[in-house]
Symmetry: C2
Subunit: 263 residues, 2 copies
Amino acid sequence: MKILLTNDDGIYAPGIAALKRSIQDLGQVTVVAPDIEQSGVGHSITFGHPLRIREVHLNNEFIGYGVNGSPADCVKLAIFEIMRGGPDIVISGLNMGANVGIHILYSGTVAAAVEAAIMGFPSIAVSFDISERYDDVNDASKVARNVIESITRHKLQKGSLLNVNIPSCPSSQMKGVKITRQFAHDFRETFEKRKDPNGKDYYWLIGTNKSIHHEEGTDISAVNEGYISVTPLRYDLTDQYLYKKIEDWDWGSTPYERDNKKS
Amino acid sequence: MKILLTNDDGIYAPGIAALKRSIQDLGQVTVVAPDIEQSGVGHSITFGHPLRIREVHLNNEFIGYGVNGSPADCVKLAIFEIMRGGPDIVISGLNMGANVGIHILYSGTVAAAVEAAIMGFPSIAVSFDISERYDDVNDASKVARNVIESITRHKLQKGSLLNVNIPSCPSSQMKGVKITRQFAHDFRETFEKRKDPNGKDYYWLIGTNKSIHHEEGTDISAVNEGYISVTPLRYDLTDQYLYKKIEDWDWGSTPYERDNKKS
């Protein structure tokens, strides 16, 4: 099995190294990842400047290819230029921090997996809800490996994407895998308003993974309860329900004619 | 009607100015937009540095509030700090360039509307398929106004989001409004491989809005045919079909136990 491994924390991040070690026995792993951290870039694609592929060595060992672009750029370049014939599966991670709820929408880790899925490859995004409570990346990577093995055993179809989140506790305390849906409410966030030394206001966002809503069966609640959350994602955002509703609305004829009628 | 207007091209962009002029008669418009261009930032949120709100004047006239953050930051700050009581609707645009197909996933324009929808407000993202063929932003803004008026007449519900794309032709030639779904295939993209003056390779992405697939009823085909495309979007990416399928998979017991069994 040919595995393309990428991330958004950059090629030198401990998460991708740990995950690479743990999945080494599942197939031939090629690492193509951003040169530097790209967290929070969302699904960005680089048109404005050229991309370079750099062979990266660490402690005299070749570890993979670094790209001066986003996680999605890495997936594109890997498939078009580096892995001729393409990978059998694309894995993105291990991200430091859960990618649940609406955070999915601005996660570079998930964006890489989405890019792969759109290009027709099965893909898995893997994130670890690292915290002060628990931060053993190697333990989390072993858990990730077992989940990935389960997935590949069942043959994930082309263009399918699973978003895996590993809870913040030792693997021995994890309660198993839970298939979940994306938590679709806003998280409780506020701005702290402060004054700078010149007496001018500034605002700092205090983000949380907490919400006034609580819903069983969602990614966030599963991770908080100590389950490994697996959420199947699709990249077609069309709202079919609203689609049917607005079809019946009066949209007028061409905009120009309506504009004329008014004047 | 209280309207929050934002964009991702920045507060000085011609698109937001033109759209503001054209929707002025629909309600009280408050502009809160990024200080500088944020195209392609996707749905990024600023945690790493504080945000400032700046009153922006142009030709001695107050035009709105500039924020040193992303479009989604602007929506959050506007709702929490600037527009007490909140807006009745959030409009993001007018973006220079269509936001169709998978481009939706990395559009800052759409991200602002998604952020608003998640926070419980009705929202509209509006983009103009500007091209060498046709680039009259004022004409496109008038079309946008009429579409927005149609939407507000029908009372878009809380948390609903419509993605509007205006085709690249004079309004007099537009064929009307078409309700569409997101085009969910990849666009035809390639890398041009070049050599730099030192003989080293570099790669430049050649992106297009073209695909080997063609599907009637999608946002991209509607815009290409001269229709104004209106796509209802949802921000819950859960794939319900795949959800049901993978529920039946064998996920083992806790990862740790399975790990032990092997060794």
